[in-house]
Symmetry: C2
């Protein structure tokens, strides 16, 4: 038979399936097999025009009553719903006029056999072409766009868009570049537990888990475990894994579960060795994306236009006092030891971009008062600390510090912060048997992807985002 | 000063620190700086002998009253506790007789200056040399070994042993080999949520999380999300991340939290395409370990002797019926559709090893009755299914299957398994808009490392293991 429905699994035909992206004029006049989705379908008299799609690639195809196809077969083809998956045998034909609406512009397929592998339901909860339409475009013609909740509620379809495919392929690249760079630098990958017995960083904003007959918590960061590995002679470690924050923040940049790219390393004499390691890793990521993910970047830009991401080598490092001076010059009133508000961080990002032409920089030497108890004070000025944040397009993507590696000093600082010593005993005890000076930081993967691409909501760069109001899909 | 205590952090000296492993006769008569731990220390009259350690490498060092050191300095050195971290300036000297007890056998260090970077408390909760002693060795001399709970309770020290360093460097290698192999095959890395709204696989053995004003669960596997990505055209995906099982199993191979190496892919015509993809990935891991981690394997073998891990290319694939026949021939009584007990899995592993000389194989075509509802039935024999387990040294490391990709068949199978359809609605709905035939599986990282190295407890290959009785450190 030349058409029908089949179910894959066992003893299938021994066919070579061609990829859509390989359908070029070199394949002209060849008979090929192809598996693809029905992207669009339009019946017109004795013909049916289809656009067949594989990820971001698509090609025009035609079933026409004649030598190659019966009337029944054209009817069968016309009834295949959009987003169904089909196998076709078709003749590749060069076209005289470029097909502007397809990625494969120089050929079309003349279908001789067509089989449905998986039929989609006729009513789709959203249309792919609506989901990739830039805001505002086609408004006059009454064209719809799709709001974010509808997209997220129907993520299986939304992830098929060219924009989503590009975002998450780029995200996969960020993880790979992060790990490859660190592996080359001699870092060891570690796996840290997510279920923990005590909320080591104070106890606020932590999810509780029922653990057999007792309670446990979800780790807010792998920091303690990274530090234990440093105390256990692993020297330089990294981990990639989920991080949980029970914060009721409903903003464009907060998730309750995100992916942390975490680094910790022993240093010899100056904590700037740590900063340099991290900034160089970020620079390698930026370069890798620039050099290997241009297609993905351009695809996302079509729907969400943004300026190319700029960075310097070596990375710009500003001290906190310099930042405060720049903000004051711009009219902001703030004290020397005040923390930066989110709007001030954004403003500072714009000022830095104007002055230094970079979208990425490090802010070093935060006031001691605004940092956690385990942060090493600046030995030269007790009002400040050996700690830093990193920013992309004016938004924080990493917070880090030299950690106190001396149990006695750590105890003093915990008391100063009025932390219950009993609760952090295991943490402090980790430093009692010889601990090298060390520091590190944690990067939010979704934020890095969002800000690199110039997007405006972290839910766009989380495949299945979790926030206080969203637990599905 | 030639000795004292210092704290790293800012404005340290501009020294080049040499690595212990680079201390070879070529460095003889050079004055070098070194940072290391005091592995052992022995004062003897006007001399103090130290062994200095960096991870698995160590070197003998000497402070002796004379031109290079004062009486006070020798006394200072003798008082430095074991496991403290020190900086030394020392002259490298060739030795006439090899120092058998050290990794650097041809040189020793004559210390001229010595500074304590971090002093360890004088009483260590365990001794490193006890923690690496093979079971039974030195029993007659009254030498101690350290039991597993003591090791795990003091993991920061236990992880410093040569055995632990080797295990977790090899584990880091397994992850890297897994990802690199799949990236080369065109797989995309995905990040799946760990907090989920419904216990999709039935609801047993699942941890509950308090989620703001409602409840949620910890994901028992990323399977649903991997499958959604396949339905969303990602074609081939993998993920590495924590997996949670609220199972009250206190065995050598169960953890409540472990690291899952997960794979899912669309296939064209036969689910063996999936099996071949996974077994080839495992073979690449085994080859990478064999070729690049011999030092680590040998180090672990010193404490825990085992036979080298054997595998075949291509991987042996047995059908379930063949396995049942082999077991029956060995005297086991079991029905055709009975599941394999753990002892029978082990016995089968021995029988397969004898017959085929491999420690790794696939068992294919499990009885449908013993597999989850989403498993694709064998179209040729409804008693069996398109599902498989993989085994290393007779223990299961992966369970996988072709998944049902048709919403209607999935519904029928769920009803047959008496599963509440309302609870798995989102799962079933994922397949309503066109889904390609696909399959996959999940590998337990800790089990792979344990079985590859021939270890006998999965807690040895989990840095900070979690079981029903252990939540710390």
């Amino acid at each position: 038979s030349a058409f029908g429905s089949v179910q894959g699994g066992e003893e299938g035909p021994d066919r070579v399936l061609v990829r859509v992206q390989d359908l070029t004029p070199e394949k002209a006049d060849q008979l090929i097999w192809l598996r693809a989705r029905v992207h669009t379908s339009r019946a017109k008299g004795k013909q049916c025009f289809l656009v067949l799609r594989q990820q971001q690639f698509n090609v025009q195809a035609l079933v026409a009553v004649g030598d190659r196809a019966s009337k029944q077969m054209v009817k069968f083809a016309a009834n295949i719903t959009k987003e169904s998956i089909i196998d076709v045998e078709a003749l590749v034909r060069k076209v005289e006029q470029k097909i502007e609406s397809c990625s494969q512009q120089d050929v079309e397929l003349h279908i001789e056999r067509i089989f449905v592998i998986s039929q989609a339901e006729p009513r789709l909860p959203l249309q792919l072409e609506d989901a990739v339409r830039p805001d505002g475009e086609g408004e006059e013609e009454g064209r719809a766009t799709v709001n974010q909740d509808t997209k997220l509620d129907n993520r299986v379809i939304d992830l098929r868009t060219t924009t989503s495919q590009a975002i998450f392929r780029l995200q996969s690249g960020v993880c790979q570049l992060f790990r490859d760079t660190l592996a080359k630098k001699g870092f060891v990958e570690i796996q840290t537990p997510k279920i923990i017995s005590a909320a080591s960083e104070g106890g606020a904003n932590v999810f509780t888990v029922s653990y057999f007959k007792t309670s446990a918590y979800l780790a807010q960061s792998p920091q303690l475990y990274k530090q234990m590995c440093i105390c256990a002679d692993f020297d330089k470690v990294f981990c990639v894994g989920p991080v949980f924050r029970a914060e009721d923040s409903n903003t464009h940049r907060h998730l309750t579960e995100f992916v942390g790219l975490d680094i910790e390393l022993a240093f010899n004499y100056h904590y700037h060795e740590v900063i340099d390691s991290i900034t160089d890793t970020m620079v390698q990521i930026f370069k890798g994306l620039r050099d290997n993910f241009q297609t993905e970047i351009q695809t996302v830009n079509k729907q969400f236009p943004s300026e190319p991401f700029k960075f310097l080598e070596p990375t710009l490092r500003l001290e906190y006092t310099e930042a405060v001076a720049m903000l004051r010059e711009a009219g902001v009133e703030m004290g020397d030891e005040d923390d930066l508000s989110t709007p001030n961080e954004k403003l500072l990002g714009r000022l830095v971009k104007e002055k230094y032409d970079t979208d990425f920089y490090v802010l070093d030497k935060y006031p001691l008062a605004v940092r956690p108890f385990y942060t090493m004070p600046d030995p030269n000025n007790p009002k400040y600390s050996n700690s830093y944040d990193m920013f992309m397009r004016g938004e924080e993507i990493l917070s880090g510090a030299q950690r106190i590696h001396d149990a006695q000093l750590l105890t003093e600082r915990a008391i100063h912060h009025q932390i219950d010593l009993e609760k952090i005993k295991a943490y402090i005890d980790s430093f009692r048997y010889g601990a090298p000076p060390h520091g590190g930081g944690g990067i939010g993967l979704e934020r890095v992807c969002m800000l690199y691409l110039g997007l405006h909501n972290v839910r766009q760069t989380s495949m299945f985002p979790r926030d206080p109001k969203r637990l599905t899909p």
